[in-house]
Each structure stands twice: as structure tokens, then as C-alpha cells.
Subunit: 390 residues, 2 copies
Amino acid sequence: MANAPVSIRDVAAYAGVSVGTVSNVLNRPDVVAEPTRSRVQAAIKQLGFIRNESARQLRAGRSRTIGLVVLDVANPFFTDVARGVEDEASESGLAVILCNSDDQQAKETHYLELLEEHRVQGILITPVPGAHDRLARLQRRGTPVVLVDSRSPTHGQCSVAVDDVLGGDLAVTHLLGQQHERIAFVGGPMSFRQVADRHEGAVRALRRAGLRADQLQVIETTALNVPAGKLAGAAIAEMPAALRPTAVFCANDLLALGVLQEMTAHRIRVPDGVAIVGYDDIDFAAAAAVPLSSVRQPRHQLGRTAAQLLLEEALGEASHQHRQVVFEPELVIRQSSLARRQDRPRKAPRAKPPAATTPAVTAPATTTPAAASTPASTAAQPTAVSKAAG
Amino acid sequence: MANAPVSIRDVAAYAGVSVGTVSNVLNRPDVVAEPTRSRVQAAIKQLGFIRNESARQLRAGRSRTIGLVVLDVANPFFTDVARGVEDEASESGLAVILCNSDDQQAKETHYLELLEEHRVQGILITPVPGAHDRLARLQRRGTPVVLVDSRSPTHGQCSVAVDDVLGGDLAVTHLLGQQHERIAFVGGPMSFRQVADRHEGAVRALRRAGLRADQLQVIETTALNVPAGKLAGAAIAEMPAALRPTAVFCANDLLALGVLQEMTAHRIRVPDGVAIVGYDDIDFAAAAAVPLSSVRQPRHQLGRTAAQLLLEEALGEASHQHRQVVFEPELVIRQSSLARRQDRPRKAPRAKPPAATTPAVTAPATTTPAAASTPASTAAQPTAVSKAAG
DNA sequence: GCCGGTGGTTGAATCGTTACATAACCTCCA
DNA sequence: TGGAGGTTATGTAACGATTCAACCACCGGC
């Protein structure tokens, strides 16, 4: 039987003080004299009083909550980001409402409404394509928005992202270094900026190597999960061996795992028959059938930084300047993309001296052409921070 | 610039009606005459009015939210459960606050307080060991609690679980059937009911096969994640081959993946050197270095059912009876536990016999001894439903 | 011409908390 | 003795939405 909920009023009566005093004990204990304070605290304990957040929020005008909208909770990339967000939020005593838009505009819209009705402090979101108007409206009405793993086209909000063009470049440069020339890009929908950028990076690497852009075979998927990867993998497996790409760069690790499974199913050896590089370096990448090379993103850091920016905007001084933080990715080389015999002559190695003796080799930033502009920086630290007027 | 938030009052003024009427338009549009209604709706749109959830909640006494507390968001098992919960909740227009206790009592307590302050409709929780008092107190104060993947010792609340003893039994019975006799159990802490039950099931299978219980080597871990699995794997790898278990049953798939990685690192072949069976059948199990045999749980269904029970208790009639729903697990056999050559005596050539032509073999329930008592039932449906007084 | 409905609308009270202006009381010093 | 100044405690007005009794206007029936 639920006994009547006890309010601050009941506590006050029980302790023989006014409600104001109880409120003070709760929020500014130092202004209450010792004997009173402990009497009130005893009453609180005695009656099992629990603050009512709704009432506090109503009074305060805002809730002590932030919203996080991700594309797919089942993707470890996002759960790691979420943990980062949560760590940062809980340090400020804020709760996180985690919402899963599942790539669907309708679900996203629904959650944005819900979060706005909850008067959250702000919203962290990896938007579905075309969400920018909705987000802008939200901001105009007073809810701060920070884009996660996405970049603000208008600089109208803060954002935290990873340089995906560089990531794509790193991946494909590596594959080219392993003597691959028939390379495919698996990913989609292209309307996702992440996907488009990774593709662009791949093209850039190809061009720099003197190849034509249209030599990059593109296999566009309808989603970024394992089943979509399997479909793409099946398509690749069915190609005649002479035309089949010798290497595949996947827009994320889930796709890569799907492709890998399908290769195994069709008895195509990885990396000998087809080399694979994924993206995100989720923990399962290293445990895959063939340990997966992947472009690592600072996932946890991404979430933490996003939350920091949001709190800065929501709680901080009015003089907030929107910032675009861009992290640098890092290529992790594992077995799935190693040439069959690294050191045997065959074709003279083009320009890839430090091969891999250790299972996981982290490409030092300095070996990547694109990194030249960003001197001495750990990949886990933002390298490009631009500012825009609030 | 955040323009002043617009309230129901502003809408009323703008539309030239009373606040009561606006509220009616929002909540019982049918009692409002057509011309008035559309006038109000126009005003709402015009002013960009957004309901204030806090105010509604305050008035209603309860929020339109449920809390879900899991042990580890990074474990795909829990994200799948969470999706089930979310699907069910959103059908009733409820939001889910997802909290990650990280196996830590302190974090769990913190989140429970937070959820109680938020006056959630109820809490779904996979508790850390020893949380039952805290939960009971919570219930006494009026917040419904449903245990997820856990069973109520006192029948004082609803619960949804999977028969973990049966799961353990299935796994080890299978390994015994593959001629393994030196079997190890990897899992921990034993204070988790799930772990203890799976272990118990393993022992039961062993006994039934006429072996002594202490022949099951137990390697207790301090957590249920990949790193803990690697530690256990390293321990196994270091044993002299003559003493080393020929098969390992892991309390969950993350541990199994860790063990598997370590076997590979130590050049111990799976399943020839050591066979492995995991638990949960997360999506990544099938994509592992060696596709992982695993005990499958109806994860999504688990979450959905838990949410259903909670809503039944929170929204339904006062005559709620607590129920304990138990699902039945299902063994999925993959390469990691297939005997080298079922019928041939010794070491086969290194070329793996094409054991699995079908990627995943699902053991039909009827082959498992324990299933005998539960006739014709899909594993995805609850098989045991006991009732207890509210 | 009065009464009883009925369909629409109103306005005030309410939820639990916080902030703030005010009061009550002490102590100390001129 | 009469403040001044300081410390504590009090009471009340918000915050925004919902609910509900009361009210109004109008119609039909007798």
C-alpha cells in the first residue's frame, strides 16, 4: 500500500518549523542554525521524505536533465559516446535521457518534442539527415543543441565531430600501401554526413595516389548495421573474381563485420581474397573472425566533450560562443588488411615502410599526409577548434 | 535569444478564452465547440506553445516516465533489453530514463534516488547483489519495481527472467555430448544470481552424466566483460596442457570473447584445443573469430514483458498480482564448440573439416533433457508463471 | 412563463518547491 | 536605554497545467 506521499510541508509540521526552513535545510544548510537543522534532518529521515523533482523543475523553469538522441543504441559506438556524456553530466548532477531515433525521422521528431516538453537543459544529438531546420527552431525557442559526430553547416550551434575525411583517407591510403588497387567503399545512405565524408576521404587518397576517382567502387547500403553489411558482402562475393575488389573500406564496423561474415560464408579468405578496413574501432572489431583493421574514434571523449559544450552553453555565462570541435581519428591496423606476405618482393612496396609485427599498429599521425597541417597532437585531443558568434 | 517561454495563459489570452478552455483543447478536444477549438489551436501554433511536462507531472503526482537501471550499457544484451522496454513504453506514451549502474552499488543507489525524485511510474532494474532491501523500501514508498533478468526472492514484486539453471545445463550437456570431460566454468562474481544459476546448471548436467561436481573447474571473474574474460583466458592458457580444460563454459558472451581472444593469442586452437560456449547469444557472437556457441535469451522480449508488467502494475487496476515470468533459453551451436571430428579418433589434418555447412545450428528443445518437463513451447514464450499475492 | 436540461465556458484552487521580503530575537556599543 | 547590526526563522507569492464546481445561454416542454 502506498502511503500518502510526504511533502516538505509534512516535514515542516513534524519538525515544528516553517516550510521555508525545511527548504533552506535542503538547499542552503549553512544558513540554518545547528539544532534546527538536525531536527529537520531527523524529520526528513523519519518520514522518508523524497524531494519532488517536478515541483523543483517547475519552479526553476528548467529540468536537471539533458537529452541524448542517437541513431542506434545497439551500435557500440553510440553506447560508448553515451557513457562519456553520462560521466560528464553526472558530475554536474544532471540525468541523461537516452533516446534512440533508429535513423527514423518520425522517431527523432517525437523524441525532440518529448525532450522539449521536459524542458531539458539541452539536447545532444546525432541527427538524421535533414533535421537541421527542426533543430534550429528548437534552439530559437531556447533549448541549446549540440551536434554529436556531426558538424554544424551554419555554425549556429556547437558541435563535436571527428575528421571523417581524414579517416577515410587514412584507411584507403593504408590499403593502397598494401598494393590494393581495386578498392570498394561500402556504406550508406550517402545522405549521412559521416558516410559522405568517409567516402570523400577515400576518394582523396585515391586521387593522391594518381588513380581516378571512379575507380573506387561504391556499394551503397541502406543502413549502417550488420545485416546491411551482409547484403553488401553477398553482393561482393557474387562478383566474378576478376572484377571483385581486393579490398573493402566500410563506413563503420558493423558493416565490416557483416561483410566479413559473408566472405567467410562464401569461403573468400580475409585478407588474402579480400582485405577489409572498418570504422569506429568498436571493441568487437578486435575480436572478430579476422581481427578487423579500423579507424578509431575517441568515442568516450566525443561524448564527454559534447556534454561539456552543452553545459557551458546551458549553465554558463550568457557570452557563450558556439564552437566546432574536431577530433582526429587514428588508424588501427589488424589482420584483416595485412597483405599476405609483407616482406616478400613481388611488387616493390610503394611507400609503406613500417609494417606490422605487433598485432595492432597505430599509424603515427605524422605518416599521414593530411595530418601535416596539424602538428604534434594526440589524436584524442581536438585539433581544430573554430569559433563562431553565438 | 530565447524569447520568453509561452504558457497556457498566453495562449488563452491570445485566443480570447480562459485557461481552462485551452487545457480542454489539449486534453479533451471533444468537449470544446469547433470554432473555439480551432481558434485555440491556431493560437498554440502561432505562439509556438509547448506543454510544460514538469507542471503536468506536479499536478498529476507522477511523471510519464519509467526508469531502467542496467548493469552495463556497453553489453549488447542490455541494449537489446532496453530496446524492448522502449518499444513497449513508447506505445503508452512513456519515456524511458536509462541508467547504468556499472555493477556499482553506489551508482545504483544514486540512480534509484534520482528516479524516485523524478516520481517515475516505476523502475525496471537488474540489481547489483544485495539491492533487495533498498528496492523493498522503494516499493513501500509507492514506486513499483520489476526485476529484469533476476528473480524476486520474496515474490514481493514482479520479475522477468530466463531459466539460467536450464541454460547452464544445456551448455554443459552439449559439451559432454562432444566428449569433453575436463570442463571449466568461467564467470563471476558468484553473488550475481545469473552467474550462480548458470553455474548450478552446469553442475546439474555434470551430475546427471555421472560425474562429480568438483570436476567442474571454476574460474571466478570479478566482472562480466571482455577484459575479465581475457584474464580468465590467460589463466587457462598458462595451465599445463595435460591439466587444461578441454572446454570452457562462460557466464556470458563478453567473457567468452575475451577467453577466445586469449586462446588465439596463445595459439591454442578453438574448438580443437579448447571448446567454448558463451551465454546471451549477442549479435557479435556469430561474428567472432570462431563463431561462438551460445545460450540464447529472448532479450527483446525480456524487456518488453518487463515493461508490460510494470505498466500493468502502475496504471492498471489496484488488484494487481505480482507475477514471476520465466522464459526458456535455447542453445545455439556454432563452430566454437564442435568436436574436431565427431567420429574420427585423432588429430585431423590442420585443414578444418567443413564442420558447419549451416552457419548456425539451433538445438531443438526436445533434445535437451531439462526441456522434457516443459512440453511444446517456443523458447520465446514464458513457460513458468507463478503468482503471488500483491 | 417557468422549469429542467444541455452544451460551452469560466475562474479559482491545487500540486510541492523555492525565493524573497519581513519579522523576531540577540548582542554589542554609544 | 536605544538603536544598529547580525543571525534565524517565517509566510507567501510565484511557477504552469489540470480539475471541477459554478455559471451562462439557449431550447423544448408543459
